[in-house]
């Protein structure tokens, strides 16, 4: 039998991971499972997983500074055909307004600074919140039936 069809929304799935880049794939794997059976085009799924990877990498690297004592918290849910992913770290947060534009000519050949841009490109919406008690929470959303790409 193929995967059980998620006719009802399965409720939010939450997970937390220690701050290792190797763990990014676990969250991607779980997200892939959450999208299974939903007729999400392969293409859309690919870009969602890339955005998720960027968000997790930032949480691990910039948020938690790869401190293994700190964790990355992820919540994923599908409601009314919209995927929402929340990624929260235990770092000291940052001001998204002050992130430089990777398309500006002086930044075009920099070796970093594209992660947030990719998330914004591949998802419908990216929101940044400072989480009470420190840390940053980013909220990525993507409609699963109307593709952007």
């Amino acid at each position: 039998m193929s995967a059980s069809k998620p006719s009802v929304d399965a409720g939010p799935v939450r997970m937390s991971l220690s701050s290792r880049f190797e763990n990014i794939e676990m969250a991607q794997h779980l997200c892939g499972k959450l999208l299974e059976g939903r007729e999400v085009p392969e293409e859309t799924k690919h870009w969602i997983l890339m955005a998720l990877r960027e968000g997790l990498a930032n949480a691990i690297k910039h948020g938690n500074s790869q401190n293994l004592e700190k964790r990355v918290h992820v919540e994923m849910r599908v409601e009314q055909d919209t995927l929402e992913i929340r990624i929260r770290d235990e770092g000291s947060g940052f001001d998204p307004e002050r992130v430089s534009d990777p398309l500006a000519p002086e930044n075009r050949l920099k070796t970093s600074g594209r992660g947030i841009f990719y998330m914004k490109t591949f998802m419908d919406d990216v929101r940044f919140d400072r989480y009470k008690g420190g840390g940053m929470e980013i909220v990525l959303t993507k409609s699963l039936n109307a593709g952007k790409e």
Partner: protein
Amino acid sequence: MKTSVREVRGVSILDLKGKITIGSGDVQLRETINKLVEDGRKNILINMQEVTTIDSSGIGELVGCYTSVTNKGGKLKLLHLPPKISDVLTVTQLITVFDVYESESEAVASFAG
């Protein structure tokens, strides 16, 4: 990521295989290119055909490699760019920075010019 280097008519072809992502392929790519540059290689062609995933760190390293090869008076070009990686380079306006080829022999010949 797996890397291997072939020499074809004065061009070092770097075949990459796997993921160029944060904490795995990214640093490895830089080190491989640095070694080629130290060995005096000026013509470098990266074959991306078997790269399965890239993220912003991988893209950053690719750009870093481009800059360091160019700064030494060398040339770094790309071969067989998978469509999704091409998209990722395009949206950050990097696709025009790189010379990209679909045919290995054409790519190799282009360095002679």
